[in-house]
Structures are given as C-alpha cells and as structure tokens.
C-alpha cells in the first residue's frame, strides 16, 4: 500500500536526481593513467628520433606521422589526468603537507604542452620524472588519509 501511494505521488509530483558527488565515479583517483601517458610520450620521442632522415619510404613517413599523432594525443591525455588529480583529488588541506603542490602540478602540466610543441628527449624525460613525482605525492596523501 505504501509503495502504491508513493508511486502515485511520484506520478503527480515530478522527481529530479540530486547527486552526492560532482564527478562520477567520484573517489576513484589514480596517477597510473598519467604515468602511462608520460611513458608513451617518451617512447614516441625516442621512435621519432630513430626515424631515417635520408630517403624515407612512404611507410617510414606513415610511421612518423603516427608517432607524432600518438605523442600529441598522449601528451594531451597526460595533462588531462594530471588536472583531474590536481583539481579534484587534492584539497586545500593537502597544501600543508605538500607546500609545493601547485608548483609541481603547474610545471608538469606545462611540460605536457612543451612535449606537444617539441621533440626533445630531455623534455620527455622531465615529463616522466614530473609525473612520477606527482604519483609519489598522491601515494603519500592516500597513505596519510588512510591513517586518519
């Protein structure tokens, strides 16, 4: 009877969905996708560097374009993943624990853009290092949260 009344009421009065979280699925954060994306950028820069400069075949050119496209795509993905961690996972209270948090993320995001613009093994290495540093901060923050 109760459910009958309820279903009648729901027909008369429209219901709307209210979310408890702003992002779905909220609470699932991991630096791994950013690390994989950074490693992909590094690998692509390596492959682009090995590309034959003299008399490339059509297949060589095809491979080069694919590598450049992949580098572009994964540098973008890396930035996106970093920004999710920065803006959604980390909260103001983390700043006390990691005073350089904003600077670390800002530099890593900038490195993603730099790796899009240029083909430089040094920049790719710096990106991998910067994302590893973020992963380390993330693990420390998680460990501290689980102790609470």
């Amino acid at each position: 009877m109760k459910s009958f009344i309820l279903s009648c009421l729901l027909k008369v009065f429209p219901t709307k969905i209210a979310y408890a979280h702003c992002d779905v699925p909220c609470g699932i954060y991991d630096p791994k996708p950013a690390q994989i994306a950074a490693a992909t950028v590094y690998k692509m820069v390596q492959l682009i560097g090995e590309f034959p400069a003299q008399n490339p075949t059509v297949n060589d050119r095809n491979k080069l374009i694919r590598c450049v496209l992949t580098k572009e795509e994964y540098a973008g993905k890396c930035k996106e993943e970093i920004l999710i961690l920065w803006t959604d996972y980390f909260k103001p209270e983390h700043l006390q624990m990691f005073p350089n948090l904003h600077d670390t993320f800002w530099k890593a995001a900038k490195l993603c853009s730099k790796n899009k613009q240029e083909v430089s093994i040094e920049l790719a290495q710096e990106l991998v290092k910067a994302v590893d540093e973020i992963a380390e901060i993330f693990q420390k923050a998680k460990a501290a949260a689980s102790k609470k």
Partner: protein, 81 residues
C-alpha cells in the same frame, strides 16, 4: 553522502524552507551547481554557506568548489522516503 544517504534514496525537498527561515549548520540541502547536489551545511557566513559531504574522504564539496551563495540553495531535505 554516505552513511546518511545512499545512492537511489528518495528524498523530500522543501523549496520554501529558506524563504522565511535561515539555513542552519547541519541542515542537509540540495544545491544547484551544474546539476543538483546533496550536501550538508558545515559553516555559515553572512550570505554564503560552506557545505561538506558526510563521506569526508571521498566527497567533492566546498573544500574543492568553495563557499556557495545562498541563492544556489534549492531547498532543505525534509525527509528520506
């Protein structure tokens, strides 16, 4: 909003609650950001409120998006049906 509200819970919202009365700390409210969000009022200032989810570890709330304006409040949760 675990443990007070679970996914799929049906709640009754009074949109008129704050027309006459003032929000109180502890009130569970619906607020309108890009979509409707359910949160609990943690602090109140003159014309803004600071909201937090009950599930502190996972919640994205005023700690991320800051204080919300009173006009962003849609209504107060009256009951869980």
């Amino acid at each position: 909003m675990l443990p007070a509200f679970k996914s799929g819970d049906l709640v009754l919202v009074n949109r008129l609650s704050y027309l006459f009365g003032k929000p109180k700390v502890g009130d569970v409210i619906i607020l309108k950001k890009k979509k409707f969000i359910i949160k609990r009022i943690a602090k109140i200032s003159k014309d803004k409120v600071f909201v937090m989810g009950d599930n502190r570890k996972e919640s994205t709330d005023s700690r991320s998006f800051g204080w919300i304006a009173r006009k962003e409040i849609v209504g107060k949760i009256m009951a869980k049906i």
